[in-house]
């Protein structure tokens, strides 16, 4: 895109700046629209599993429900508790929201269609997702209220615990793909097992995917791991004192994070923008459509789990992270690197 703007007679710096801004808008605007629709989808799926109707009043089939909710919170008054640390209280939701958008910079939507094609794309994702906790911790502390504070404590412990096992799972993928670049990882999944595109068909990596899916739910604090906003214990967790747009930013950021986890599942284990099977006919469908379909599928799985699985207790959550996922993923790092060495994968 930089070359296109340069052909319009702009200098390299300006062309680079404008094309980067265009790229950011091309990702962020559809993402925001997607988040609005995915909130609606989440409520509809949840309702269907509970034999309810879900939102069905605003617009045809209730499709405009999220926009009505957005308008509602936009028109509400922003309340800042008088004991709160005002600056940090207002910055916290902005951090959550920004961080949720940042990681999308390295997700490849097609071969070469990626905003920032960096060598260490996967590390970047890991780095950005580890920042997500700050929005929650700062909110909990600056609210100066006990339930948000408990929630912040839980969130920081929970996210650090699951990041450890996610790190080991990602190392397994990187070992097999031989690169930290997400596009290279997608390319490495072509014809991985017979004609199936995707690491998930590999018997050694399939358990890694299952653990990644569950860790992803814990990392994004989705049900059944939504202990940071467990309403039966903590009112609404770190969001308790928030109202109006700052509350909405948490909502949007949370769902953008969930979509990101779905996109990572698709990209790292299910072949990203590649079609599921390596058949020439399937390549007629553009890559981003495959990626979108996979993201929607995983979002359905996330909603399904939310609708059916009861919330974990906090000690069970910690046990799962440290006593189950950590040793198992560490074992798999050993097994997979041993297997790759034995079969001469690196030669």
């Amino acid at each position: 895109m930089t070359a296109f703007f340069q052909s319009l007679g702009l200098s390299y710096e300006w062309a680079w700046g404008i094309s980067t801004i265009c790229g950011i808008l091309l990702i962020a605007l559809p993402l925001m629209l997607g988040v609005a629709m995915i909130i609606y989808a989440d409520r509809k799926i949840w309702a269907a599993m509970a034999l309810r109707r879900g939102p069905n009043v605003v617009g045809p089939l209730g499709l405009l429900q999220s926009f009505a909710d957005g308008l509602k919170v936009f028109l509400q008054e922003t309340i800042i508790p008088s004991a709160a640390n005002k600056g940090l209280f207002l910055i916290a939701p902005i951090i959550t929201f920004t961080v949720a958008l940042m990681a999308w910079a390295v997700i490849p939507f097609n071969s070469g269609a990626v905003l920032a094609d960096v060598n260490v794309g996967l590390l970047y994702v890991l780095a950005i997702s580890s920042l997500g906790v700050y929005g929650v911790v700062i909110a909990g502390w600056s609210s100066n209220s006990k339930y948000p504070f408990f929630s912040a404590m839980r969130a920081s412990a929970q996210m650090i615990s699951y990041e450890v096992s996610i790190g080991f799972i990602l190392i397994c993928v990187v070992l097999w793909a031989g690169s930290f670049n997400l596009n290279a990882i997608v390319h490495a999944q072509k014809d991985h097992v017979w004609i199936i595109n995707g690491f998930v068909a590999n018997p050694l990596l399939f358990p890694m995917w299952v653990m990644f899916l569950i860790s992803g739910m814990a990392e994004t604090a989705r049900a059944p791991f939504d202990l940071t906003e467990a309403e039966s214990e903590l009112v609404a967790g770190y969001q308790t004192e928030y109202s109006s747009m700052s509350f909405a930013l948490y909502w949007l950021g949370e769902y953008a994070n969930v979509l990101l986890m779905c996109a990572l599942n698709a990209t790292l284990f299910w072949g990203g923008w590649l079609p599921p099977l390596d058949i020439p006919v399937l390549y007629l469908v553009p890559g981003f459509v495959w990626l979108l379909l996979k993201i929607l599928f995983f979002f359905f799985v996330f909603s399904w789990v939310k609708a059916t699985v009861p919330r974990y207790r906090y000690d069970q959550l910690m046990r799962l992270g440290w006593k189950v996922f950590l040793p198992v993923s560490l074992l798999f790092v050993f097994v997979i690197s041993g297997y790759l060495m034995a079969t001469g994968h690196f030669a």
């Binding site: 710096e13 680079w16 700046g17 940090l88 960096v118 060598n119 260490v120 590390l123 970047y124 890991l126 780095a127 580890s130 920042l131 906790v133 700050y134 911790v137 700062i138 502390w141 504070f149 912040a152 404590m153 920081s156 412990a157 996210m159 650090i160 990041e163 930290f180 000690d315 069970q316 046990r319």
Partner: protein, 205 residues
């Protein structure tokens, strides 16, 4: 132009946030400014072409160390009047430490300028061996030339970690732990009985 602009932006913000880290009255604010300083340091490393180090800096320091730091500082109830009271007593020690740090900094810069340290050049051109991403370059160096040091560092960290766990672990009595496998193995037949008691007889429990 973009590089120069980004460099001055990151460098200024880093020095400023480092200064505010020390000057901030609230320790939580200090930690947050420290995190901003880490961030800008990572930005500078990206600029010189060391993206792997930059990402590790964010993952390790911002993502883990600073979170725990914040965790501890948030829970502390620090009394500032008490802290200030020790200022005069601790001043000589602090001054000596500051002088030592300054001397080390001057020595380091001097050695670099004299060419004694093969650090590469500031414009990033010497960042990685030709045709090799710097992740691969660091890996090749760590696992060949510095293999022993690298693994020794790993073993030391492991010992430290186990030591910390052993030191803080308390064996508490009277706690009923949860045995997950036992719970999962339990079948309905083991836990329930179906009885049809006669009227007025009751059930023995």
């Amino acid at each position: 132009m973009i590089q120069a602009f980004a460099f001055y932006l990151f460098a200024t913000l880093m020095i400023a946030s480092g200064a505010i880290t020390i000057l901030a009255r609230n320790p939580v604010h200090s930690v947050l400014w420290l995190i901003l300083a880490f961030f800008n340091a990572a930005g500078l490393m990206v600029l010189v072409g060391a993206e792997f180090i930059a990402m590790l800096l964010i993952i390790v320091y911002v993502g883990a160390v600073a979170v725990l730091f914040l965790f501890v500082v948030m829970m502390l109830d620090i009394d500032f009047a008490e802290l200030r009271a020790g200022f005069v007593n601790n001043f000589p020690l602090g001054f000596v430490l500051a002088v030592v740090l300054l001397a080390e900094l001057v020595l380091g810069v001097g050695a670099y300028r004299a060419g004694a340290l093969p650090l590469g050049v500031a414009d990033g051109s010497g960042a990685a061996a030709a045709g090799l991403s710097n992740t691969a370059a660091i890996g090749a160096l760590l696992y060949s030339r510095y293999l022993f040091l690298f693994e020794a560092a790993g073993v030391i960290l492991l010992v430290a970690m186990i030591g910390a766990i052993v030191l803080t672990h308390r064996q508490r009595s009277g706690v009923r732990g949860q045995n997950i496998s036992k719970q999962v193995a339990r079948r309905p037949e083991d836990a329930t009985i179906n009885v049809q008691p006669e009227v007025g007889k009751g059930v023995s429990l």
